[in-house]
Structures are given as structure tokens and as C-alpha cells.
Symmetry: C2
């Protein structure tokens, strides 16, 4: 969580992790650094710069420590990373991250398929990560990022009670916040309102971010629902990269550019300059030639009526 | 307005009018008839089949009367058309439409640029249309479709008071309902809630449909907002055709396929069968070869978790 109090909504930019991780090509580190710098210069206050995983499994993420170290040189951005296990957590902590996100599948079949761990094994891993954090890295935040919250391609429906039980377990294990992710683009606004309301009722201020995929074009509709029930941190990725696109146009994450337009138009301050954000796409295009980028605002522009929520930027 | 009471939300399919009108190629009448039939077979209960305008100006719409006559043979679809003036209204009435929509620019500069009429001249035209309707075609509904409601590319901001004043004027002139259109994709959910709430407060049950363009990717987000404040008729077009696309991906109207998924997922009955609706795209592809079609659901599918609001279809 970022402590910037001049924002109504914190956009957590996950493109450098969730986006790049899903693309088989590896973006050169030097271009990643330019891109990350451009994203921060555009006013994004929280960036998930990478994932601390085996470079054999995900060579795209091999430079995570270098990216963390570089971004920690600036005080205006909160540097986070995804971490699947104790080994990754230790590497992330040593690299200097300010927050880690632990991906936790609510669907056990998904957990088994994805990381070959039962729920019990996941709890054991979280316990060791929390022990390490508490003992040696007390200033680093830990978020449990619950996945398959709104449905699972393997299990099908995921009972809301299972989501709430998992969130409570994570809080009992000591995590600082619990975010909810629609991993495969199944969520609808009615469900989003229900589940986030229950989450807040159960764990209060430890209720964390909303992470939506735009697989079925419902991403921003779900954001409107999340805002209605008090969610204040929204994940998004520049150009909508990431996820498991089924087809051209069926992008992964919700598009940061379109999200900023939505929020600022609604009078919600994000701190982000849309022109600078759109300009940052140039690094992504250079770093991943041929990779499709999504979003309407980069093509259509903000239009004649647009005003930033807090006035001119 | 359609009288089908088994629906929670009436989707008014405007692709055959707003969609085809914006495309310079002309879809052959025979293929249009196949497409319209497929749309109705998919369960769409209201279809705007065309526009009664000069065939010199819009040759794509020259077959409007034939389409109306054909679609009036079935009792499960409400047949509507766009009509810009008295001459068009008379032709539409004679063809057998069940409803006409009169496009009315709230922005006077837009009205002058678009149809070369001042507001006063527009009122005079509406008055003559209503006189004709009342005298000779009392069973045909008349909707005023207010355009540039959420902003105008010429005028810029459009005061909400102007929108409400225009809506009241239309009601005074005798129209049956007043819909609001975001002609250029400027609307945001906060504004949508505000303006439709004021509209309902001012004109009660004469408050009509919401017509959003997806130019900035905000279409379904705006639908969520409209649903929140009691809007029950939503315009959409198959494949998102229509509007003034700025660039590939920046489609015109909101996509019917994605809208049906949104609504049914939220537990709102539309009467539409998504598989049949997606299948209807084949006629559009055949009728307009090379024309881009938009939408996520046709590529991604509804997914494992999807249920129709009213149970299996």
C-alpha cells in the first residue's frame, strides 16, 4: 500500500510483472528500466516491477532484483514484486522491495495445477514467509493476492464462502492485506460488489486491491462495481498486456490508460498524467516489437471535455 | 418500448441502423434480411432496422421500408427506425414501424452542423411529426433520442441543465419517451448516474434508453452506472459497429454480445441466447466483407461459470 494521501484511488501498475510474464519474448533490461522510469514519471505510485521466480521457468523475470534496486532510487514510487515461495521472498526482501504479493489460489485444483501445492502446503509456505518477514524484514508489506476468486477454468464455480475463508486464513497467518483477483475474466459487477463487501466486513482495512482481467471485456464495468463498495486500489497494466489472451482483442489485464481516464473523469484523483502515460507505451513497443497493445484512449484521445479530477496536471 | 414483461432489461439492437449507417459500403438487402432474422431468432426484442433518410445521402438505408415490412411479419420483435424529419416520419409510419426515434442534438452547434437546423427549427419539425402521428398513426411510439448529452466535439461541455430543458421541451411537444445518447464517447459513470437520475426526476416514466458509444472503452462501465439508476433499455450494436471509429479497436457502439454477457451474468434477463447471437455475426461478415467486428465474448466465449439469469435458454 502506498501512503500518498493526495490520491483517491491508487493504481497498482502490474504490466512489468503480470504483463511481461505472460509474453514469451524477454524485454531487454535496459528498455525495462526506461519503461519503468517513464511509468513512474507519468505519476504511477505503485509498480509491480517483476516476479522473483526461477529464471529457468521465467527468463523474462530474471532481472527482477536489478529492477527493484533501480526503482528504489526514487522516493515517489512504491516498489512491489510477486513472490511464489520462501526462496523468492528472501530474494525479493534482499533486493529491497517495499511489498511482496503472494499468489494464493482459492481453487485447490488450480493451486495444484499451477504450483503443485495443496492448500495446506500453501499455508505452510506463507507461514515461513511471514516468519522471515517478521524477523528480518519487518518494514516490507505482504499482500496475499487471492486468485480464481470469481471462478476457475478448472474447478468452475468458486464458492464465495471459500474466498472469505481463505482471506481469513491469510489474515490469521499475518499478511497485511488481501487482494482479490479475477484470474480468468469471469467476474461480473454484481458478484464484485458482493464479494468485496463481504471481504471488507470480514477483514476490515486489510481488504486490498481489485485485480481484473479483461478477457470478456468486463474489466472497467467491474471497476465501477469495486469503486461502489469502497475498493481504493486497482491493478492494471499498460496496454492491457498480460493474462492469457484467448484471441486478438481479448486482452489480459485491464488497460491502465483507459482506467486512468475512467477514474479521473469520475472525479477520482489517480496522480497519473495521461499524456505521459500514453507516451510510455513507446518503450513497450520498442522492447516487445510485434506484441499487440490494447486500449482505447491511446487511439481516441481524452477528447475535448476531459478534466483531471484535481484540476490541470 | 417493448411490452415483453419477461425481461429485466430491454436491449435495443441498433446495429442495422447506427452500425450500417456509419459504414460506407452497402450491405445487400437479402443479407440484411437474413441478419435481422438471425438477430430476432437470437431473442432480441427490439431492433432499429434502418433510417428513413434520403437514399442519395445514405444509400445504405434505401431499403428501410422493405426491412420494416419484412420484420413486421413476426410478432416477437418490436420494429423501430430513425427518422430525421417529417418526410422520413411519414415514410416510416407508412412502412409500418412500431416506433420512431427522432435524433435531437442538445448542442445547437452540433444540430446546425449535422442537420442545419436551429433548436427552434427542430421544435417546429417535431411538432409537425407529432401532429401527423397523433392524427393518422396514433399507435406508433415516438422517442426523442437526445444526442451530445454527455459532451460534444464541437461545443465541448454540454450543461446538464440544457439536457434537462431539452428533455422537458420534447415531453411538452408530446413525445412518448426521451433517451439519452453519448454520441462521441465522452460519458463517465458518475455523469451517467447524475444525468439519468435528473431525467427520471423530471419526466418520470418517459425517461427512455441509454445509448453509449465505446470510443474510449467506457461503454459497459457506463451501462453499470445506468443500471444503478434504473435505466431498463440499453442500445447496443452487434459487433460494436457504428459510430465514428477513430482507429482500429476504438469501436462505435457498445457491443451487444458483451452487453448480453454483462447483464445475464448480473442476473438480469435479456431474453437473448448468446450462442445464437454470436452465430448471427456470420451474416454481418458476409454482408460487409473486410469490415472489422468488435467484442470479447465472440472470441473468449462465456466461460465455464456462466449462467443465464433465468436459467438455461
Amino acid at each position: 500500500m502506498n501512503s500518498n494521501n493526495n490520491l483517491d484511488i491508487l493504481i497498482s501498475e502490474v504490466g512489468p510483472r503480470d504483463g511481461l510474464q505472460s509474453i514469451s519474448a524477454t524485454m531487454p533490461t535496459a528498455l525495462k528500466l526506461h519503461w519503468l522510469t517513464a511509468l513512474a514519471d507519468a505519476g504511477l505510485k505503485e509498480i509491480e516491477v517483476g516476479s522473483f521466480v526461477s529464471p529457468r521457468l521465467l527468463p523474462q523475470m530474471a532481472d527482477a532484483a536489478e529492477l527493484v534496486a533501480h526503482m528504489r532510487q526514487r522516493s515517489d514510487v512504491f516498489v512491489t514484486a510477486l513472490v511464489p515461495n520462501l526462496k523468492g521472498a528472501e530474494a525479493a526482501f534482499n533486493a529491497g522491495v517495499q511489498k511482496i504479493t503472494l499468489p494464493i489460489s482459492v481453487s485447490e485444483p488450480h493451486s495444484l495445477a499451477n504450483i503443485r501445492k495443496t492448500h495446506q502446503q500453501v499455508y505452510d509456505e506463507v507461514r515461513t514467509v511471514m516468519a522471515l518477514r517478521n524477523e528480518r524484514f519487518p518494514h516490507v508489506e505482504v499482500e496475499a493476492g487471492l486468485s480464481t476468486v470469481f471462478g476457475c477454468t478448472i474447478q468452475g464455480e468458486v464458492p464465495e464462502d471459500d474466498v472469505l475463508r481463505m482471506a481469513l486464513t491469510m489474515v490469521e497467518l499475518g499478511v497485511d492485506e488481501v487482494g482479490l483477483a479475477d484470474t480468468v475474466g469471469y467476474a461480473n459487477p454484481a458478484q464484485v460488489r458482493r464479494v468485496f463487501t463481504r471481504l471488507r466486513n470480514e477483514i476490515g482495512s486489510k481488504a486490498g486491491s481489485a485485480h481484473f482481467h479483461n478477457t470478456r471485456g468486463q474489466g472497467l464495468a467491474n471497476v465501477v462495481a469495486a469503486l461502489d463498495v469502497g475498493v481504493t486500489t486497482i491493478d492494471a497494466s499498460q496496454g492491457g498486456i498480460g493474462g492469457c489472451p484467448y484471441a486478438p482483442g481479448a486482452s489480459g489485464n485491464i488497460v491502465t490508460e483507459d482506467l486512468v481516464y475512467l477514474l479521473e473523469s469520475m472525479g477520482l484523483r489517480t496522480g497519473v498524467d495521461i499524456d505521459k502515460l500514453v507516451a510510455a507505451r513507446a518503450w513497450l513497443k520498442q522492447g516487445l516489437p510485434g506484441e499487440p497493445l490494447y486500449g482505447f484512449i491511446p487511439d481516441a484521445g481524452v477528447g475535448k471535455n476531459f478534466h483531471y479530477a484535481g484540476g490541470a496536471r
